[in-house]
Amino acid sequence: MTSLIAVRGLTKTFTLHIQGGVQLPVLRGVELSVDAGECVVLGDPSGAGKSTLLRTIYGNYRAESGEVLIRHAGGVVDVARAEPRTILDVRRRTVGYVSQFLRVVPRVPTLDVVIEPLRSLGVPVAEALARARALLGRLRVPERLWGLPPVTFSGGEQQRVNVARGLIAGHPVLLLDEPTASLDADSRAAVVALIAEARDRGTAIVGAFHDASVRAALATRLVRLHGEAA
């Protein structure tokens, strides 16, 4: 496999046991390969399963059938079948993920939230902090907020903290789920510039972006999960 990501025959159905066993089929036989330097944009409308696909590639959702292959540490890991500790290692070293929402931990200051992915790779604190400050600066997060926990920040500020955290480690694979959803034009441009730099460095990116200008700036390829049906 030469791609960094190869999704093969991926199927995902949610079974809601407490709603009388209702079945929600979301993904059906999804095929997707992503090479280094590609930014694949999922072009379906809301509700088509874009977030589900991104979460399944990240190992946050379980695949029902099919393969989610990630090139990792000189080999290939099938996230759909890997042990938890292997998935955690894939997340630590290979796959970054930015969701729409920051899951905040009480009391942890913004800088510590942002440097955590680097710290887990063993990068010394001073170096990690320097990179975090540079990133937060570029993302226009006001410096007076850096020492505070993001719990009380606005949605847009939290989202930029989330972007900084997701991009800081320079993972070779990035999964982006509406990372610019609640941002004003200037902040959006800052996020887009950072993602474009990652792409041009050779990062393999899969993203869902609602905003047409963001898509235009980042996409090297547009795919639809539901070709005919959409």
């Binding site: 979460r55 959702y61 379980r62 500790r85 009391r107």
Partner: protein, 258 residues
Amino acid sequence: MNDRPLLSVRGLTKRYGEHVACLDVGFDLWPGEVLGVVGESGSGKTTLLACLSGRAPVSAGCVEFTQRDGAVVNVLEMSEAARRKLARSDWGIVRQDPREGLRLGVSAGANVGEPLMALGARHYGRVRAAALEWLDKVEIDLGRIDDLPETFSGGMQQRLQIARNLVTQPRLVFMDEPTGGLDVSVQARLLDLLRGLVADLGLSAIIVTHDLAVARLLSHRLLVMRRGEVVETGLTDQVLDDPQHPYTQLLVSSVLQP
């Protein structure tokens, strides 16, 4: 990655007469991994913890622990003396009620220093220095080192119990509802502290909790228990965000979102 689990549990079963507290529980715990055990009251979580650490007799099963020298021992077949020795050197046990895990009649400093002395430390200055270092790590004012734990708040007592358990650098820590009896604000501080210590020290831990938010913050992997049986296991965020078993779905959907 290490190629041998620190703890390997197979077929663990505990019966009280007709009642089954744990049925055929099995899992591996890897070095540096934090395993959360969740489920409602009466699901067998606390019994499981007591059985794993050899504090309660089991009806069947096997609990293998890999010692520092690489030798593998079955915790359930060790002599009482050997198990106590292993517990002193390699394990920490943090109880829900800190008063059960502390010695209330001696000072805070002695509570932290004693486990070191039990392992052979004799130099008073070094033991006291280690006690000070650990009181600082768990955010207890160093001016309180000679005070009795009786005079501490519940949150401080719990932090002191954690210091007492971690000062010996155990390889495996068992925690039973470590934030259980505490106010929410005190809980947040303790959780943050535990999270930092677990990451910095690369601890392996088994944490029993009925609080899914605590489980999400602290554990890498979850076991969901119901009526003594493990009904679901997996990566923590996978189990909580995409629960498969009806009971897990019920647990996750029953949590109030503030």
